[in-house]
Symmetry: C2
DNA sequence: CCAATTATGTATCGATCGATACATAATTAT
DNA sequence: ATAATTATGTATCGATCGATACATAATTGG
């Protein structure tokens, strides 16, 4: 690729990952250039040459965070056979990621852009747009459930999506506050009770849906 | 009180409220001294003379936020006759505050200390301690429900509290993302279904609890 | 070898951060 | 009136913010 010129002395991908974890933990404005350069082990000159600016670096870090390896949401929604299983897997896989001891706690998209100076408000808008996209994906998956018959027609899928995303976003705060994996899954147990209470309408048949798990496997 | 000396030319209480709203909206590090002095209309000298430091000012702002006027949680938990009504009122009154157009959206205690430099981590710890205190209050109210008979003995009140606080914290993010008051209450409708699914055990009588509201008061 | 290209190292930019020194104004106690 | 006390206004502190200028090192293309 970049054959010409003096070769880069550091691993750009590894550096991006270090930056992602710093932004993830401390947020955009809570992460300074000196924190980034110290953690990566390069000078600010090299960082700017490789990534352009702090805002560009953050954008790349968010892209990395949202890539398939890091974000279990897409695969949970797409591969689960029923809408109920899709929601539950989305919640449980994300919860596992939120309390993973190898990475900062909670969701970067939720947590990294909340405390911003006016000059950097666009960062918050970008992350809010990503949350809106997740909301739309959940609604689409629920609508697919309606189309496929495992959700009764007439169900307010938008409200249902908002409810489960509220739980998901709340779990980011719980994770930041140190909650255990077990407790997170117990919370999800309770959140899934809503599904059974709402979807099992008296005049509708329930097609699929596994029983609520108790522990969290 | 402060009879001696030159009288203060600004309203300290009003200034504190302005500071509270700025910290509430932008977080601790997202609010600079110049933002504070510009919004209040005083010089940094006067601000330091009146409040000591940025950290002290923030502490007073959090105290104001947690005072009875601003925090409906305590009154909801204490005055509601049943545990179910206490939880539902806590959620609905807080949700109303989160989307109140006269104040920043969401909960200051949840949102203001998430993106911090290492030097200011104590701010995050202080707010986390307040969230833990809320958790303990909810558990205490649920335990009281067990003692008074409207919750079956053996109920995992700690898990129940974590669940409802997860929903409450998630509503702060939803509020930041612009959700309507109606949608917030619809989310709470769904959250309260968990109560009925868990508390109405087949071998236990339900003593109290109003039916789930649909719209939101 | 030489030119072109790309990255690095040093040193620093102007702006802003939170915080203060110092002199002055306005009030009360005596 | 004078001293003591408290607040204000001006001007600025050292540190850090994100970002760059400039010279040098290391590689490829010719």
């Amino acid at each position: 690729m970049s054959a010409r010129g003096r070769p880069r002395r550091f691993d750009r991908t590894a550096a991006l990952r270090v930056a992602m974890e710093l932004f993830w933990e401390h947020g955009y404005e809570g992460t300074s250039l000196s924190m980034l350069t110290d953690a990566i082990g390069i000078t600010s000159t090299s960082l700017y040459a490789a990534f352009g600016s702090k805002g560009e670096l953050f954008r790349e870090a968010v892209d990395l965070y949202n890539s398939a390896d890091w974000s279990p949401t897409d695969s949970a929604l797409e591969t689960s056979p029923t809408a109920r299983q899709a929601i539950e897997r989305m919640l449980r896989d994300n919860a596992d990621a939120y309390v993973d001891p190898h990475t900062p706690r909670g969701c970067m998209v939720v947590l990294a852009g909340l405390n911003l100076t006016s000059a950097n408000e666009y960062i918050g808008h970008r992350l809010a747009a990503l949350r809106r996209r997740d909301h739309d994906k959940v609604v689409a998956r629920l609508d697919r459930g309606v189309a496929e018959g495992d959700i009764p027609p007439g169900t307010d899928t938008a409200a249902m999506a908002s409810y489960y995303l509220t739980v998901l976003h709340g779990l980011s705060i719980q994770a930041r506050d140190g909650c255990s994996r077990e407790l997170a899954h117990t919370v999800i147990d309770r959140a899934m009770l809503t599904w059974d209470a709402l979807i099992r309408q008296p005049d509708h048949e329930v097609v699929a849906g596994d029983p609520p798990r108790s522990g969290g496997g």
